[in-house]
Amino acid sequence: MADTATEREAVRSAIERVAARMEEEKEYLTDLDSAIGDADHGANMDRGFQAVLEKTDGMDDADAAELVKTVGVTLISEVGGAAGPLYGGSFMSASAELGDGITAESTVAFAEAFLDKVQDRGDAPVGAKTMVDALTPAVHTYKKSIEEDDLEPVEALTKAVDACQRGVNFTTPIRAKKGRASYLGWRSVGHQDPGATSTLCIVEELQETAVE
């Protein structure tokens, strides 16, 4: 197990990466949201993670759990919309799993708690064309890679990214049952879900951070 300072730097570097990525993907996510939603997902995520950057900037004594909790609280109070309570609430409550530090086991617990909270709050099953469709394969694959296949976290994350990508691809050909896209009925078919896409961006950046 790494020491608190190392973990803190790792979390911060992940935050920076994700924030930079959201800035980069802002337009793309908003474009996806304008096809089947209300054209704000990119702006929402970018605004949220810029605020996270600011909030966590001075936190030089915080441990990983505190930092991640701050990510959640900040997203709740800055993002609004559907993505705010979903991502924010999940980061906030799942952060407890990192209380004893970042280990292979604790990250699996974190990932599971994160998924649970999203489903609890949003009540979307798999196949409803939401972030759940990207998150579920990512979390399941990560857990199996660590627990069954004894892979290193980095390798497990790499597999999770691939799983997540398939989840994103899966959202395109199906009809939405939850979220604004559900109002479109069959017309939602053929469009990629923005929330699933932002989930993939986050998972990819976590993997990149782990590689470093």
Binding site: T30, S34, A35, I36, G37, D38, A39, D40, A43, N44, R47, I76, S77, E78, V79, G80, G81, A82, A83, G84, P85, L86, G89, R121, G122, R175, K177, K178, G179, R180, S182, Y183, L184, G185, R187
Partner: protein, 338 residues
């Protein structure tokens, strides 16, 4: 930094909500005030002791909704999110606490997942942080969206204005939290709306149309968030469009012959008032043909979608209690009943 100015009367896209709220307070300093460091406006005299508070809120871009309805007889608080984005839970919670006059707070929520999740979280937060009683109703008047396992339920749209009016009147008359919630729910059970877009709206952040509509196409069954509608059809005449909207609304409500109704022909922001009157003409003649009695007919921009061109038709089936509450005086920036 934005260097190209899109064709909107704005400064920075990110400052739109903040500056609009300031401009609104500057226009109505005796009627509304802004909670410090937040995007919440409340009645100038909030909290009103001994009265149930009625609060609402949602994404911005629907002006005069929500803050335009702050005042005696209607709303006590209005939380403004970013454009088309639900306000955050902590701001809603702050609003709830600032408006509580000791008799509890009714949150009027429009049925969008974002709004519902943020308001629910807010209600929990507020009850944790103070001893306020919080109740809620969820408005879902949009008949364009089927309420089935395959959707997030019907959306809340312009019928919400009637909910605000009626709940606010009951609170003003001294009803307790249960009464206020009951009449709000009664409106929800008897109101239906359907809308159409002739053009997309343009959000300040995106700066271009949210969806593309062909020269001769319109969207039927739009919400109020610039989201595409449920069906795209060829442009029709005002009478034909009004028929489509009104038939869907009446089929859903299925009112008895001779029933009294209140109606709203609501503009989406970019539609000339003259066109709304043309729609109202057809709506009223259809109601007449069905043997319905129009008790009150509102025509104007009540719940908009930025600069979108289009309209929605709302019908509320009345009973004596609802008529009395609709007629109750109200004085707000956007609606006055004397």
């Amino acid at each position: 930094m934005v260097t190209r100015h899109m064709k909107k009367l704005i400064n920075e896209p990110s400052a739109v909500v903040d500056e609009m709220l300031d401009g609104m307070v500057a226009a109505h300093p005796d009627e509304v005030r802004r909670l410090e460091d937040s995007n919440v406006l409340v009645r100038r005299d909030a909290p009103v002791e001994g009265k149930v508070a009625v609060v609402s809120g949602g994404g911005s871009g629907h002006e005069p909704t929500h803050a335009g309805y702050l005042g005696p007889g209607m709303l006590d608080g209005a939380a403004a999110g970013e454009v088309f984005t639900s306000p955050t839970a902590d701001e809603v919670s702050e609003m709830v606490q600032a408006c509580d006059g000791g008799e509890g707070v009714l949150m009027v929520i429009k049925n969008y997942e974002g709004d519902v999740m943020n308001f629910e979280t807010a209600g929990e937060l507020a009850e944790m942080e103070s001893d306020v009683d919080v109740a809620k109703v969820v408005v879902n008047d949009d008949v364009a969206v089927e309420d089935s396992l395959y959707t997030s339920g019907r959306r809340g749209v312009c019928g919400t204005i009637f909910v605000h009016k009626v709940a606010g009147a009951m609170a003003d008359e001294g009803g307790d939290l249960d009464d206020v919630q009951r009449v709000a729910q009664k409106v929800i059970d008897n109101v239906a709306t359907m809308g159409t877009a002739l053009t997309s709206c343009i959000t300040p952040e995106k700066g271009e149309p949210t969806f593309d509509l062909g020269e001769d196409e319109i969207e039927l069954g739009i919400g109020i968030h610039g989201e595409p509608g449920v069906e795209r059809v060829e442009m029709m005449s005002a009478d034909e469009i009004t028929e489509r909207l009104t038939e869907n609304v009446l089929d859903d409500l299925d009112p008895d012959e001779g029933a009294e109704v209140a109606t709203i022909v609501n503009g989406m922001g970019g539609t000339p008032l003259s066109e709304l009157y043309i729609v109202n003409r057809k709506l009223q003649s259809m109601l007449d043909d069905r043997g319905l009695e129009t008790w009150d007919a509102w025509v104007g921009d009540y719940m908009t979608s930025l600069d979108m061109q289009g309209c929605s038709v709302t019908v509320l089936v009345l009973d004596d209690e609802l008529k009395e509450l609709l007629a109750h005086p109200v004085e707000t920036p956007a609606l006055t009943v004397t």
